[in-house]
């Protein structure tokens, strides 16, 4: 476990990088992508708390993201509420749902839990599509306002970048704190052996529900931010594919590594953009990269790169020695 000072320094450096990044990309199309990296990082961190720490799979996390986006989107676009108020309403409502859903669903383990969360995700997705009177259905909900403070409107990519990353940084900081606490240890204990964790007095059943709820809460906040940044949402963004993509981000970044979730989210968000040059073959290259990463870095990017570097470095030195 890293010491507290090292932890704070890591967070500080990371936050500085986030703050100055727009100086290099400002105005460009990449700025828009970096907004998405922020949202996806939040979602990946949220899922990582559940999947990487507590070891509980969810294949329906896009639903919580969608619920946040739609509740906030509908209440502002249709009912004219303030987006800040609906941020609270949407995240509270989603958390209550997750809490109630968590009790029965988290009694399931492994594949059964995967199926149940998958089912939940699909039900919510269908609801977005079919409740046309409320959500405008597959054609999507328009007219969602941007966030604003007084007369200041968050109406550009750069402004939204700072807004979203403020939330993302808070999420990361709180998650790192949680990970290095008795709750984080209890979650990892459940992951390794639920029986032993319970024998040690960890109320595994309730703690799993709590972390599921927290994960849904963060996801729904990300959903709100997404809706008011895009000002347009449609069900397609909250389907099964996106749930799988979130799991991929967490696994590629590294299970149980909070900063890993950032790298996973960044990679999976940026990669498709860079792979456009391959045109029709982009999805093949994308798949190949993921396969290679899982093969050579099963612990994720954050643990994998130092390992591979450590393995390659002596080899490099040897070759150079022979040449000289």
């Amino acid at each position: 476990m890293p010491s507290m000072k090292k932890e704070l320094l890591t967070f500080f450096l990371f936050a500085m990088a986030v703050v100055i990044a727009p100086l290099f990309f400002s105005g460009g199309y990449l700025m828009n992508v970096l907004v998405f990296v922020g949202i996806n990082t939040m979602l990946a961190v949220a899922l990582n708390l559940l999947l990487g720490f507590a070891g509980q799979i969810s294949l329906g996390h896009a639903a919580f993201f969608g619920l946040g986006a739609y509740i906030s989107g509908v209440l502002t676009a249709t009912c004219g509420y303030s987006p800040w108020l609906t941020l609270i309403i949407a995240s509270t409502a989603t958390s209550v749902l997750a809490f109630v859903l968590g009790f029965p669903i988290l009694k399931l383990k492994g594949h059964y839990l995967a199926m149940a969360t998958l089912g939940f995700g699909i039900i919510v997705y269908i609801a977005f599509n079919e409740t046309v009177d409320i959500t405008a259905g597959p054609s999507g909900l328009t007219g969602i306002p941007n966030y604003s403070i007084g007369s200041f409107q968050f109406d550009s990519d750069t402004k939204n970048y700072y807004l979203i990353w403020a939330f993302t940084l808070v999420t990361i900081l709180l998650s790192v704190n949680l990970a290095n606490s008795r709750i984080g240890r209890a979650l990892r204990a459940i992951h390794d052996s639920e029986t032993a964790a319970r024998v040690m007095g960890v109320n595994a059943g309730f703690l799993k529900v709590q972390i599921f709820t927290l994960s849904a809460l963060i996801s729904s906040v990300a959903g709100c931010l997404y809706a008011h940044t895009m000002t347009f949402i449609s069900p397609a963004s909250f389907g099964f594919n996106f749930s799988i993509e979130l799991v991929t981000m967490v696994v590629v970044g590294g299970l149980g590594s909070i900063y890993g979730s950032f790298f996973g989210a960044a990679l999976l968000t940026l990669l498709p953009e860079f792979l456009r040059t391959f045109q029709d073959f982009d999805i093949l290259v994308y798949g190949l990269i993921l396969i290679l990463m899982i093969m050579f870095m099963p612990g994720g990017i954050v643990r994998g790169i130092p390992e591979i570097a450590g393995a390659l470095l002596p080899a490099f030195k040897r070759t150079r020695g022979e040449n000289a």
Binding site: M1, L174, S175, N177, L178, S181, R182, I183, G184, R185, A186, R188, A189, H191, D192, S193, T195, A196, A197, R198, V199, M200, G201, V202, N203, A204, Q210, I211, L214, G256
Partner: protein
């Protein structure tokens, strides 16, 4: 301290335990022995809340704890170790013991996430306390090692240290000497005596007769799901029924 009253457990048509009653006295080491399939581990799983008995009651002190889940029993001071050690393999030795201190700290998600002062103070206490238990079991030098990488014998010690960190009233150990060499077993015997001297009641399931006879204050013998005998090591050694059960009678 711990009392089982008429415990019966059936799995479908199979009766694993039938009307087993015994009691464990305070600050003693009680051994539960019996041939394979006698129902020892089933009995342990019932006492520690992993199984629910078909009939009968378990008392901890004067409290009826029948059917309590393990996490609730842990808070009442009853803890166990496992035959095939159940460690948190991806966590370090220190962290494993810190999980053992879970019930002795109370910071919730909010307090932990925001690093409230109460939580920080508690965290320091947990860390210091965990270090003491590492020292108690003689594994301080392994503090930063991942539990999954420990040799079996050290894993055993860690499991005991983790259980002791709960500050239990009763510790149940399921075959603690299984897979240990003779030197490790000797060290284990000393450790178990030290645990008793610290005021904790110990219950053992064990196949190593030498160890049982050496350290136990009293012994319960199970055979084919029933209690065969109960007494001091000397009484048990001289009991003809026990001898017959172990060696077969003609």
């Amino acid at each position: 301290m711990l009392r089982a009253d008429g415990i019966t457990k059936t799995f479908g048509g199979l009766t694993a335990l039938e009307d087993v009653s015994f009691s464990v006295r305070d600050e003693e080491i009680t051994g539960i022995i019996g041939p394979n399939g006698a129902g020892k581990t089933t009995l342990f799983n019932i006492i520690t809340g992993l199984y629910t008995q078909s009939e009968g009651k378990i008392f901890l002190g004067d409290k009826d704890v029948s059917g309590f889940p393990p996490e609730k029993l842990a808070r009442l001071g009853l803890v166990r170790t496992f035959q095939n050690i159940e460690l948190f393999g991806q966590m370090t030795v220190l962290e494993n013991i810190m999980v053992g201190l879970h019930t002795r700290s109370r910071s919730g998600i909010v307090s932990c996430a925001f690093k409230l002062p109460g939580h920080l103070k508690e965290e320091r206490k947990i860390r210091a306390n965990a270090a003491e238990w590492m020292d108690f079991c003689g594994i301080s030098d392994l503090s930063g090692v991942a539990a999954g990488n420990l040799p079996f014998g050290k894993g055993r010690l860690l499991e005991i240290a983790r259980a002791m960190a709960l500050a239990p009233r009763v510790i149940l150990m399921d075959e603690p000497a299984a897979g240990l060499n003779s030197r490790e077993t000797e060290h284990l015997a000393d450790l178990i005596r030290k645990i008793r001297e610290s005021g904790v009641t110990v219950v053992l399931v064990e196949h190593d007769m030498e160890l049982i006879m050496d350290i136990c204050d009293s012994i319960v013998v199970l055979n084919l799901g029933r209690k065969l005998a109960e007494g001091t090591p000397r009484e048990i050694q001289e009991n003809p029924e026990v001898i017959a059960a172990y060696l077969g009678s003609d």
